[in-house]
Symmetry: C2
């Protein structure tokens, strides 16, 4: 698999890159960003933190506004940010019609419904294709991966970690959608991509996965109590209850005054990366 370098910029002693490749999963070109911390050029392999973004975002939002490079440079972490959906004029899902379904809103599932099934394969893209690409082109220690995300990407991070706990040593989220089967964003997306059979939804719902027996060693979740999506779409109390029932240690932090934006995310990014680094350190 080949990749094209879109841009590289030195930052905090490392290199922030943006790359493009033709994706077998989505059938489109896909763009992603990778931060390599200082020391990556010395020949060793470094642990990898995956960051999944929220509705309407591309790789660029966290790359420009996430304030992750300082900590990644200090902690020796590779930071990877994929896009949130396939894109292109041939891809169904016009964002002018809906910000919460289609382009920019892949929800990290492999769609089974038409006309989405060919392109909307973000689950396989993020868990299989992009890791293969990363292992091939970057000094990434694929035995030390972790995952975090924001909002829809927090949903992605939690569901991916819960279904593949052997693959990720840490998982955390900023303001995640924790129970998409129970909230409007999720019902629309899972119904649209996966159809009406709600059994298929449960594999893409963190709370349902835990109810069905999925486990992870521990989880960190931050949310702001001024987040306008908190009560209708995010509902962190449902995750708290599921983790409590399943005896999964959950560090759930209510951050007073914070909203849903990157001003919130960047404030607590450092905490999350230190949480991840502590769990990625042992080789």
């Amino acid at each position: 698999m080949t990749i094209e370098t879109v841009s590289t910029n030195q930052s905090y002693g490392g290199v922030q890159g943006v790359y493009r490749h033709a994706s077998r999963e989505t059938g489109t070109d896909m763009v992603f960003s990778v931060y390599l911390p200082p020391g990556a050029e010395r020949g060793g392999k470094l642990p990898v933190v995956w960051y999944l973004s929220g509705l309407t975002c591309t790789h660029a939002n966290v790359t420009e506004k996430g304030e992750f490079r300082r900590a990644c440079a200090e902690l020796g972490l590779i930071f990877v940010a994929p896009d949130t959906s396939p894109r292109g004029s041939d891809v169904p899902g016009d964002p002018a019609k809906a910000y919460d379904f289609g382009l920019g809103a892949g929800f990290y599932v492999d769609a089974t419904q038409q006309p989405f099934a060919r392109n909307y394969r973000m689950w396989s893209y993020v868990t299989e294709e992009l890791p293969e690409l990363l292992a091939e082109h970057f000094p990434a220690d694929m035995s030390r991966q972790s995952i975090l995300g924001h909002s829809m990407g927090g949903h992605g991070a939690l569901t991916i970690a819960l279904r593949r706990p052997q693959a990720y040593r840490a998982a955390s989220a900023f303001a995640p959608i924790v129970a998409p089967s129970q909230v409007p964003w999720g019902i629309k997306a899972l119904g649209g991509y996966l159809g009406d059979n709600r059994d298929a939804w449960r594999k893409h719902d963190a709370v349902a996965l835990i109810e069905d027996g999925a486990r992870f060693p521990d989880l960190l979740v931050d949310y702001g109590d001024a987040d306008p999506f908190l009560k209708e779409q995010l509902r962190p109390e449902l995750l708290a209850q599921a983790c409590s029932d399943a005896a999964i240690p959950l560090t759930l932090r209510r951050q007073p005054g914070y909203d849903h934006s990157y001003y919130f995310i960047s404030t607590f990014m450092d905490d999350h990366l230190r949480w991840h680094a502590a769990r990625l350190q042992s080789t």
Copy 2:
């Protein structure tokens, strides 16, 4: 003078705000951003760091990508980012025609030439009107101000500090234009705004100001040696020579591999804010 709140977002324990007001100097609405660190609500007054942006930027570039809030929160600094020019459909200087003159490229001068003289009054806007507004609406200790900037804004920060050393306790710059009278960007801008009489340019040229006797206690300047504008437009060696001749202590740091972007600025923002804080601390 009244201001309108465009947005506020909590970040690093403080509040990042964006505000709009009708400017007497530019004759247009102007937008600026202010970060208030935690503690600003307790009633005391806090020191103010002014950040002047470069060509094509608005307040938003540094506000989103500058990574200044963490240090400002820790050090108790208010951070203010003005726009780089007047804007509006009635303002001459179409940015589609030139990125380096007109809208987004005010060069921090009061224009004397038509059709720019009415609106392009960024010197008076940044040094008089906006400080008045800040003192009226924010808990700003106007006896403790400092100034920094990037590229064209580095030019603005250096020239403003050199001409008003009593008003600013610290001054620094990222990749500044140090001698606009001697480089293409500056010759175009100063000629366009101030006319052909080069004597008028010297008050807006840091190197010329120093040659003409302006002084500042000390200066900090960082630039990247991979900056594509280094040799033709920035020419930091001219500032080094002028400061050496005038015995102005200049900390001039060549940063290997860095370019002209916010990936460079954000890397060294922390250093600059600590430099400023050390000089702003005494009340």
